[in-house]
């Protein structure tokens, strides 16, 4: 057997050393004494002054209840920064981590980027099924591995202009998609080649009217039991795409709607089309209520769950859910202390309620949802009910994040605009692409 030259061996070893140095190693062992005095670091993504203040208030309460644990809080952390820190490890990295990108949970759990919380949950004797609504439990685990806990949530429903409803003689928000079409048409007032008022902006670029938000109102499954994309086989997808396309056509057609959409203000600004009265109904998250009030809208705002498929009326009340996920960094040497903070922030009723009140999000525990201390006005209650509805749902986690959702969304753009005409073939092609992307990521 020929011997490798010494230089070649040295070069290969150097490259291997350099490359492996860049790959963070997971360590799930938690040997720290939870009663010892220690300081842990918590990274989160909130940045607005009111949000940062609310986080700090919760941390202050935690430190009061756990005098041995001090928490260093670092805000405005996005997933890029978070991933970099988790990859690099090191003593200056976070002990407690959080992310707004719910769809990344598949990667966080499968790669070990977030520590497995099962041993901690068992040690704390938490029965999560009795504490946290099922959809929120779903989006914080992947293939049976729980690596995160939900830290408040977002629930999506229908906002409607009560004054416009009254003027159009509409007495109640629609419960089925057929009713919804009729209501949207009644509320639509054309003006030349544009609109004086549009009942509803159905296009997939209409801010929150994306494919997965629509799909949440149909009984559906993105993947079969083998993990293959089922969008071509599950009739719910074809039904949704067909319905949306008909809605687009019935409200003036794709081009006219796109032209009108280009007159809309920013989604997060005061000139949001629902707030300005340009559209009379809007699919949106619970935050819109506060934003609309802050913008000083002149009409009464109604809220309701989004409609459901005509043959699924018994599931009316459900909606799309997502939210912030919180976990423990696997490289942390203070995992027991870190878990204490995660447990407190995500399961302590007073902590969850006060944080939800402060940032106007939906609480993520049953107890907090029913708490008398929760500040609830009638419009917001709709979203609390959606969060507790057993049929509410969120797309399942995937190993490549939200790629399968954006792939399906891409097909949606093609279909709504008329560029793709064969729905069946398009869904099949999209399903094949999703499977190929997941195969590549595994």
């Amino acid at each position: 057997m020929p011997r490798m030259p010494r230089k070649a061996v040295f070069a290969a070893a150097s490259i291997a050393l350099l490359t492996t140095a860049c790959t963070g190693q997971s360590d799930t062992g938690a040997t720290d004494d939870p009663n010892a005095s220690t300081t842990i670091t918590f990274w989160h993504g909130w940045s607005a002054p009111a949000e940062v203040k609310a986080i700090q208030a919760n941390i202050d309460r935690f430190e009061k209840e756990h005098p041995n644990i001090k928490v260093k809080v670092v805000g405005n952390i996005n997933d890029d920064k978070l991933n970099q820190a988790l990859r690099a490890g090191g003593s200056s990295g976070p002990d407690v981590v959080s992310s707004f990108t719910t769809s990344n949970i598949g990667k966080f759990c499968s790669s070990g980027a977030f520590a497995d919380l099962k041993p901690f949950i068992e040690k704390s004797k938490l029965d999560l099924d009795k504490i946290i609504p099922k959809p929120m439990l779903e989006y914080t685990q992947f293939e049976g591995k729980r690596c995160a806990m939900p830290l408040l949530g977002d629930a999506y429903g229908l906002y409607y202009n009560k004054d416009a409803f009254k003027k159009a003689g509409i007495k109640a928000p629609p419960k089925t998609w057929s009713e919804f079409t009729e209501v949207a048409k009644k509320l639509t007032k054309s003006k030349g080649d544009s609109y004086e008022q549009l009942g509803f902006m159905p296009n997939y670029h209409g801010y929150e009217t994306v494919v997965d938000h629509y799909m949440s109102q149909w009984d559906h499954a993105y993947f079969d039991k083998d993990g293959k994309s089922s969008i071509a086989e599950d009739p719910a997808f074809a039904e949704m795409f067909t319905y949306q396309k008909k809605l687009v056509d019935s409200l003036g057609g794709f081009q006219k709607l796109e032209k009108y959409r280009n007159t809309f203000g920013d989604e997060w600004g005061a000139k949001h089309p629902f707030q300005t009265g340009q559209v009379a109904m809007q699919l949106d998250g619970e935050w819109r209520l506060g934003m609309a009030k802050d913008a000083g809208v002149k009409f009464d705002i109604g809220t309701a769950p989004m409609p459901v498929a005509d043959d699924e009326v018994d599931e009316y009340g459900k909606g799309f859910l997502s939210g912030t996920v919180m976990g423990v960094a696997p490289q942390s040497k203070k995992q027991n202390a870190a878990w204490e903070l995660v447990k407190y922030m995500t399961t302590d009723t007073a902590a969850v309620v006060s944080f939800a009140n402060a940032i106007h999000n939906v609480p993520s525990t049953f107890a907090a949802l029913k708490s008398p201390d929760l500040t609830v006005d009638p419009g917001f209650k709709t979203f609390l009910d959606i969060a507790q509805n057993p049929h509410s749902n969120t797309p399942p986690a995937s190993v490549n994040g939200s790629t399968y959702q954006t792939t399906l969304q891409d097909f949606g753009y093609q279909y709504e605009s008329g560029k793709a005409k064969d729905l069946k073939a398009g869904l099949k092609k999209t399903a094949d692409q999703i499977d190929r992307d997941i195969e590549q990521a595994k």
């Binding site: 490359t19 890029d80 991933n83 990859r87 670029h205 959409r261 998250g285 490549n400 692409q433 590549q440």
Partner: protein, 313 residues
């Protein structure tokens, strides 16, 4: 004994040379050689950024070229921008430079006016252009409409998004203008006088006097323009994101390229694959494609440069 002394002297001299070169050597190794070798290495690996890299042969290359739906549109867009945007930027920068060197009064004012946009941060400049070119509410289309001219969809129309990005790039052409002005002012006046005595027209003076003299600067502008365009990321991403209306709501990630993948560029794919899909191996493949394309373009242009100077001579 004298041989040993000579050898020691040579060794000392070599060490001294290495010591003087060490800042560059360290910089080259850390910031160029190692990343390049790593990129090649990871392009053959399955690596999600967290676990241990696993060898997977040519799978990543096969995926990017055959199955990744964004690669070919991004490559086409990048090539379009390299050919059209770079050409127009060089021509526009040279044209403005020529104009400003010719005018007698107000040179400083015009130079400042044309240079200022270059200083605008890319994100702010792109946001301003998306606002100005908004097909529904933007002032540009209002004026075009009032004049009875067609009102394009700009950043919302796949056919117009790249021309709109090109307009944005032309607006910020101040860097090239300054470089060309310096080069134009450096052309010996005697050559123009001799050409005029020979009866050369303005075009001939430009073609046979100006161009040969500034050809190294033209080549510099083209080569750096090509490399910059290969790395074109911020403007198309921001324009696509803002114009689409979907900024990435709660729990979601944004897929670049709006409208209809027309603003996708290769650097965006590196981000999409590496940081959104956690597929660092495939991201490295795209990075290597970018590297190879930059090398090919630069080599091609450097060969052409010889021809240009010869023709001028």
């Amino acid at each position: 004994m004298s041989t040993l002394t000579l050898r020691a002297k040579r060794r000392r001299s070599a060490l001294r040379t290495a010591a003087f070169m060490s800042p560059w050597l360290i910089g080259f190794s850390v910031f160029f050689a190692y990343p390049l070798i790593s990129t090649v290495y990871f392009s053959f690996m399955k690596y999600d950024g967290f676990g241990v890299p696993v060898f997977r042969g040519l799978d990543n290359w096969n995926y990017v070229f055959n199955d990744y739906p964004m690669f070919w549109p991004a490559l086409r867009n990048t090539l379009w921008l390299v050919v059209v945007m770079v050409t127009l930027r060089v021509a526009f920068g040279l044209g403005i430079g020529l104009l400003i060197t010719k005018i007698k009064t107000g040179t400083g004012v015009f130079r400042t006016l044309f240079y200022l946009p270059y200083l605008a941060p890319p994100v702010a400049a792109t946001l301003a252009f998306v606002f100005l070119l908004n097909p529904g509410t933007g002032p540009v289309n209002s004026v075009l409409g009032d004049l009875g001219l067609p009102t394009p969809g700009w950043f919302t129309d796949a056919a117009w998004s790249k021309p709109a990005l090109t307009m944005l790039a032309l607006w910020g052409v101040g860097d090239l203008m300054v470089i060309f002005m310096a080069a134009l002012l450096d052309v010996p006046k005697e050559q123009y006088e001799a050409a005029e005595l020979d009866g050369a027209s303005a075009w001939h003076r430009f073609r046979f006097v100006t161009l040969p003299n500034i050809s190294p600067i033209v080549m510099f502008a083209v080569v750096t323009g090509v490399i910059q365009t290969m790395q074109y990321y911020t403007q198309p991403l921001v324009a696509g994101k803002v114009a689409s209306g979907i900024i990435g709501g709660s729990g979601q990630q944004f897929e670049p390229g709006y409208p209809d993948k027309s603003t996708l560029t290769l650097p965006q794919l590196v981000y999409n694959l590496g940081f959104q899909r956690f597929d660092y191996g495939s991201a490295c493949v795209v990075a290597l494609v970018l590297f190879a394309l930059s090398m090919v373009f630069t080599a091609f242009l450097m060969r052409r440069r010889g021809g240009l100077i010869q023709a001028g001579d």
